[in-house]
Structure formats: structure tokens, C-alpha cells
Amino acid sequence: MAESVCIVAEYRDGAFRKVSYEIASEGRRIADTLGLKLYGIAIGSGVSDKVQELAKYGVEKVLVADDPAFEHYIAETYVPAVAEMLQQCDPAVVLLPASMNGKDLSARLAARLETGLAQDSTEISVEDGKIKAKRPLFGGKCLGWYEWADDALVMISCRPNVMSMLEPDESKQAEVVKVDVSVPEARSKVVSVDMDTSGKIELTEAEIVVSGGRGMKGPENFAMLEELAGLLGAAVGASRAAVDAGWRPHSDQVGQTGKVVTPNLYIAVGISGAIQHLAGMGSSKYIVAVNKDPDAPIFSKADYGVVEDLFKFIPVFTEEVRKLKSSE
């Protein structure tokens, strides 16, 4: 019988990304149900210093590959190293983050380990020792449950911002095993990295998203959404119409051919609610729609709808939010 549930943490710019703690927490729950240990794999440059952060979420042992070669993610170097460390964990289940790099790593790793991967899963269930994973399909228009063959290693990448994090236990310590992984000769490499230092919040990980559509009429008008988002600590998204018009970058696009977001609050401004857009934001906890067309399909998904000219409403709403925030 296998020994562990194993998580592959994502380390970047001196810290583990939040999703690493989410998968550690989920891994802890699964390990407890299956009666297995919870191990972690940490790979990066300088990662050794932060390894005990994973222990706070229930990881008992962490295998570490700490080398300048791993400073930036590239599949060719990461995949063999992670595969080598996983062998030492003897896992029944491997959890990874469904971040951009996480999904990429997971896919190539699944091929290397000759197994099945449930990518971008939003729920995991364990019944009679068997794992099932649920994941969104067709841009979120429906959901599918997946199961593995009896002898297969279960690999699941978990969507960020979904699995609930345990309360960190500062008293916990993990055993640390430094692994001298071989760094392969790679034909691919990172040429440059350009991080946005403006403090912009990542769309797929934001708790609140304010999004603009065709009704915004032009790129300059998004400034009012940025102002509102700033007060709310929100990310700013866009519909395909706004992206195709060149008003917003494609990385801000929410929808079936853009990003699927799962915030606590999604405010759709001047967005009519095309089926592809609804697929991308339909599982937000709360949805607000602001549109001057009372027949806009977006109102059928909204918890709160405001039938108003957005150019009148948004500045006034922003002022009310400002009053609320300054009274706190």
C-alpha cells in the first residue's frame, strides 16, 4: 500500500504562493481520511528557508530541491526533479496547484508518470478509499466527476482560491529532506522575467472582481472601474467585447475563451451577459450587474441588479463605497 498523499508546492519570489497552503490543507484532509502521511515537495532557489511554512498546514515531511537552476519555472528542469522526489514519497495521491505553471508542470509530469490527471479541480471526494475529483467543463457550463483506474496514481491540480485553508498551527514542524536532484541539460530556458510591480491583483485569485464590457464605450472609462476596484481591493476584468476592441489586455478577459473566475463578489458593469461570459463568472458567490438595458441577460444571473446608466451610477456607487471604507 502507498505511504502518502503528496503536495507539490509552488514557490516564487521568496515565498510559497497561497494555493500551496490550500492544497496542503486539502491534502491533510485526504491523508487523514485514507490513513496516510502528508508529504510535500518544494522546488526553487532559496526555498529551503521557507519550508516550515508548509508544516503549519499539516505537512509532515518536505523533500527539497534547492538550486539556482530552479529559480524560474521551466518544465524541462522541473519535471524530472519533481518526478525523482515523488518516487521517494511513495504517494497514492499527488496534489498540485492549478496555477499557470502548476497546470503545465502537472500535465507533463502525468505523462512522465504514465497516469491520469484531473486538471483544475474544484472538489475532491473520498468514498470507500476511492478518490473522485470534480472539475468545470465547457468553460464552467457544466461540471464533471472523474475517477481513476484501480492501479493508477491519482494526480489532481486544484483551482486556486477554492480549497479551504486550515488554521495554521505554528507549533508544527516538518522533517526536511534535502534531495540532490540531477539538473538535466535543458534545451529550453527563461530569457527574462517581467513582474508587474504595481500591486495589481491577479484576476483568478481575487476575492472581488469589477469587470467592464462593451457598455464602457472606451478604454479611458475603465479608470472609473480601477478607482472602484482600488477601494474594494479588487481585480479589474473585462468581457471579450472590451478586449477585442483593444480597450483592455487579453489577460483581463473573463469568459469561456478567457479566464474563469470564482470571486466572492463579481460586479459586471456594462456587460450584457453573453453565454460565454456567464460561463466564466457564473460560479462567483455574489454577482452584481449594472446595465441600462433591463433585458440584458446578465440580470438573470445577478443577485443584485441595477438598471441605470453606468456613467451615472458608478461614480455615485464609488463614493458610497469610499464613505463605507473610511468609516471603518
Binding site: 499557470m100 486538471q119 465547457f138 457550463k141 493508477a152 451610477f313 456607487f317 458610497e320
Partner: protein, 265 residues
């Protein structure tokens, strides 16, 4: 340059998805089938490479006869030849099984570069490119929003949460396409293009033609399978903020509702 594009046919994103009677597949009778948008970006990128370097663009796809139409569309855009792997054994394959088939096709075609979308808008497994690269033992560069190739090295720009990276690889390599329609602007098939496409070679192959057998990549080999589908939970009906209020009144009421009812601000 010898360029291969791995293309998948998917339902149009306008499609309303309905679960079929068996509870684990979708109703397909009213579906309009298209080239997966991200694979269409790959076709466009491939055609640009051909314009720059000369050579050929081969479209490789898999599935039943209806997929021929999508391959012909890519040929009409300007690709030179197509290959369809149409074998019943692949019906319930998993991503790894399909990747094995595609890798075998690539090995036969012996290209300098393989392009494909980083995800498909239907089952969205997000695995095809990296898996094929792993099976070939080639590097892969994911999520390209720009692509430069001088014939021996390929360089792409790709997003990462909070920024972007430039990555490059020597050829041969696999590149997966990210971005959006606004980034890649895939060309439309012209009328002359459509006429020419009818005469371009399109081979239909079975697994045996690629030296594979169903035990290696068919449903029996699948490590993971879809067991059931469900619709997302119905949202509770919402409400329109009282139309009798003026703008300020509505704004105040919305703030109150978000704060006290929803508790999200």
C-alpha cells in the same frame, strides 16, 4: 520549415450544453462544431512561420468523420496537408492515450516544430501539448502570446500570474498557444482558399497505421475517466434594486445589501 499543428474540433462556444441520458456525455445533435479557438491561433502562427521560412504546414487531428470539416477549414486558411486519426478505439481514451497517438503521428511527420492550443474549450484538460512533448522527449513552451523563430530557435512571450516571461528553446520543440482572438487574429479562409483546400491531401489513419494498438491508448489503457456530469447549481433568484430610488438611493441600497446581506464588502 516542417510545421505540424495538433488541432481539436470542439463545440462552438455559443452552444448550450445539455447532459445526455447516460449522465456522462453531452447531447450533440444541435452542436455546431468548430476548430478549438486556441488551435486556430496555432494554425495562424504556423502559417506565419511558413510565410517567413517556407516549408509545409500539416494539420493533425483525431476523432470521427465530422472532424474532416475542421481540417479542411485549416487547409483553406493555408495549411498544406492534413491527417485524421479516426479509430473507434479512441472514443474513451484519456489525455495520455490521445497524446500517445499524436506523438506517433508527429514522429512519422518528423517536423521542426509542433504548435497547438494550450487548452480546448470543451473538456479543458490542458494536457495535450506538454504530454506530447514529454512523450517525444522535446522541450515545450506554454501559453505563447507572441512567437519568434529564426529556424533553429523559437522564442515566446508568455504570461505568469502577476507578470510575463520570455522563454526560448532550440528546435525541435512544442509550443502551446495562449492569448486570445485579439492577440492572434486568425485569418479567415478566402474563397480561393476554400476551393484549393478540397484538393489538398488529407490522410485518414487507424491506430494500426501508426504502429499503435488499442491496448496502449484506447479506453482499456485509460488511467482516468469521466464518470458523471452535472449542471452547476442553480443560482438563487436575485433582485433588481428598487427602481423608484434615485441614483444615490440605489447606490446606498446596493452598498447596504452587499455589506449586511451578502457580507462581501
Amino acid at each position: 520549415m516542417n510545421i505540424v499543428v495538433l488541432l481539436k474540433q470542439t463545440p462552438d462556444t455559443e452552444s448550450v450544453i445539455r447532459i445526455a441520458g447516460d449522465g456522462r456525455s453531452i447531447e450533440t445533435q444541435d452542436i455546431k462544431w468548430i476548430i478549438n479557438p486556441y488551435d486556430e491561433f496555432a494554425v495562424e502562427a504556423a502559417l506565419r512561420l511558413k510565410e517567413q521560412h517556407g516549408g509545409t504546414v500539416t494539420i493533425v487531428s483525431w476523432g470521427p468523420q465530422r472532424v474532416v470539416e475542421s481540417i479542411r477549414t485549416a487547409l483553406a486558411m493555408g495549411a498544406d496537408k492534413g491527417m485524421l486519426i479516426d479509430d473507434e478505439a479512441l472514443e474513451e481514451s484519456d489525455s495520455l492515450g490521445i497524446a500517445k497517438v499524436l506523438a506517433a503521428a508527429v514522429q512519422e511527420l518528423n517536423p521542426d516544430i509542433v504548435l497547438c492550443g494550450h487548452r480546448a474549450v470543451d473538456y479543458d484538460h490542458n494536457q495535450r501539448g506538454p504530454m506530447v512533448a514529454e512523450l517525444l522527449g522535446w522541450p515545450h513552451l506554454p501559453l505563447a502570446v507572441s512567437l519568434e523563430c529564426d529556424g533553429t530557435t523559437v522564442k515566446i512571450e508568455r504570461p505568469v500570474e502577476g507578470g510575463k516571461m520570455v522563454v526560448e528553446s532550440s528546435l525541435p520543440a512544442v509550443v502551446t498557444m495562449g492569448g486570445s482572438h485579439a492577440v492572434w487574429n486568425p485569418r479567415y479562409a478566402s474563397l480561393p482558399g476554400i476551393m484549393k483546400a478540397r484538393k489538398k491531401p488529407l490522410d485518414v489513419k487507424k491506430l494500426a497505421d501508426l504502429g499503435l494498438n488499442p491496448e496502449e491508448c484506447g479506453s482499456g489503457a485509460a488511467k482516468i475517466r469521466l464518470v458523471s456530469l452535472e449542471m452547476p447549481p442553480e443560482r438563487k433568484p436575485g433582485r433588481i434594486i428598487n427602481g423608484d430610488l434615485d441614483t444615490e438611493g440605489k447606490a446606498k441600497e446596493l452598498v447596504r445589501a452587499l455589506r449586511e446581506e451578502a457580507k462581501v464588502i
